[in-house]
């Protein structure tokens, strides 16, 4: 199999194509992750603070996650008014899944911030908004980071479904190989997707390590 893959990659046009698809895959997976995180944090914050918001927000997040990805990709144009092959369809659909995946960890993480810490911050004169950014959010990072890692893996795996409409990053290698009954591009696509997920995961672990010096010191003590 390795020989077959090397043979496939010996063509410069194939090499160029695989690199393009890898780049497309990264964009289609990472942009929604960032967008989803940017929406999930305030949404989770609101759901945690406002009691009556909690059930509907968490409930609709669970239901959203049961809609097949392909359906969401192809139905986006009727919601967004985008063109049928627009990458924005995949980006927005995956951002929605990311929000659905992250809202609960955000709520859980904020729930887990000890009351005495919040009380201490309040006593030191932090207003709610500043307290959230400076105290509660950093303390929520470990739980949140676990959620982001799950969402990252999920996005990277789901992007390939876009290949049904010619927009699947490395997933395009699956449909390409399938129609000419050639395993090399398919296996290459699977391996590249796994590696991409692994690299992203290591980056996220690194980012988490860099971004939580206080908790790290606490953990070592």
């Amino acid at each position: 199999m390795l020989e077959e893959i090397l043979r496939y990659l010996s063509s410069p046009s194939n090499r160029e194509k695989v690199l393009d698809l890898l780049g497309e895959h990264v964009v289609l997976a990472v942009v929604p992750l960032l967008l989803g995180l940017a929406v999930a944090v305030p949404l989770g914050w609101a759901a945690q603070r406002v009691r009556w918001l909690r059930a509907p927000v968490l409930g609709s997040a669970s239901v959203l996650y049961t809609v097949p990805a392909l359906a969401l990709f192809v139905l986006m144009p009727s919601v967004l008014g985008t063109r049928i092959l627009d990458g924005a369809n995949v980006v927005v659909a995956l951002a929605l899944y990311t929000v659905a995946l992250l809202v609960r960890p955000v709520v859980d993480a904020l729930d887990a911030v000890p009351g005495h810490v919040v009380a201490a911050a309040t006593a030191m004169g932090y207003r709610p908004a500043r307290r959230f950014v400076a105290v509660e959010l950093p303390m929520a990072v470990p739980v949140l980071a676990a959620g982001v890692r799950v969402a990252s893996v999920s996005n990277i795996s789901l992007v390939s479904v876009g290949a049904f409409i010619g927009l699947g990053g490395l997933g395009q290698l699956f449909t390409e190989g399938f129609q000419v009954r050639y395993l090399a591009p398919i296996v290459l696509g699977i391996v590249a997707t796994l590696l991409l997920a692994l690299v992203m995961d290591l980056l996220l672990v690194g980012l988490r390590w860099v971004s939580t010096p206080g908790l790290r010191a606490g953990a070592q003590a």
């Binding site: 049961t66 809609v67 899944y97 729930d111 390939s160 049904f164 997933g171 399938f178 796994l194």
Partner: protein
């Protein structure tokens, strides 16, 4: 309006009859889901319990589950079909790969979550290691295990749609044929049916969990902050 068209789609008796009708498609979808999840349970639960019980191989197990989660279902499906020539086998195997990680993680975490003191007490009362696993650790692990199972079911129901790429039935047939003819009402109907099926199965499993989880475990799980909640499902 799309809403009216979707309602009209559901109202058309032709969509409810025969081999391509909604009841048949739902039945096919359920069939793949049930077979897949059963196979996944048979593989993952013993493995998760064993690793959790003995405490050996935990790191390998976690690494393996994470790698499995990253495997793209469409890639596995096309690979297995070209290799084996059977759409049914390719579909079930690809979906089992999807369902194993949450069940495995759930059963492993479930046994892990049992407090050391409880196990020690059971052993102190004269239980053998096996008795302890069956009578103490497994019941106590049930909330997390069932959480993993629910998560697996949600993912499989949402992903079974991909089987239609290999010419198989299920609700994905409605979705993919709708895409090929750009029939938006049919695509919306297929998405709604899939989501409804997933929610229904989830409620069913939640009800089952109430019945099988011993009251004592449920109470202690609830006081520990709802550890039995399923993690995110997945399309």
């Amino acid at each position: 309006m799309i809403v009216n068209e979707v309602l009209a789609w559901f109202g058309d008796p032709a969509h409810w009859r025969g081999p391509g009708g909604v009841p048949m498609r739902v039945a096919e979808h359920l069939y793949y889901t049930v077979v897949t999840v059963l196979v996944a349970v048979v593989i993952a639960v013993p493995l998760g319990l064993a690793v959790g019980h003995t405490g050996r191989g935990g790191v390998v197990l976690v690494g393996l589950t994470n790698a499995m989660r990253a495997l793209p279902t469409l890639g596995l499906l096309t690979f297995l079909f070209l290799l084996l020539g059977s759409a049914d086998v390719a579909t079930v195997v690809a979906l089992v790969v999807l369902a194993v990680p949450p069940v495995l993680a759930g059963s492993y975490a479930g046994v892990q979550s049992v407090q050391r003191e409880i196990v020690d007490a059971a052993r102190g009362m004269g239980m053998t290691s096996t008795q302890c696993l069956w009578q103490v650790e497994l019941p106590a692990a049930l909330p997390l295990l069932l959480g993993g199972l629910r998560s697996a079911v949600l993912q499989v129901v949402a992903t079974t749609a991909v089987a239609a790429y290999l010419g198989l039935g299920g609700l994905g047939r409605l979705l993919l044929d709708g895409l090929r003819s750009l029939d938006y009402p049919q695509m919306v109907a297929a998405a709604l049916l899939t989501a409804a099926l997933a929610v229904l199965l989830d409620l069913l499993l939640a009800g089952m969990a109430r019945l099988v989880v011993p009251t004592g475990v449920r109470l202690s799980a609830a006081s520990a902050g709802g550890a039995g909640r399923p993690r995110g499902g997945g399309p």
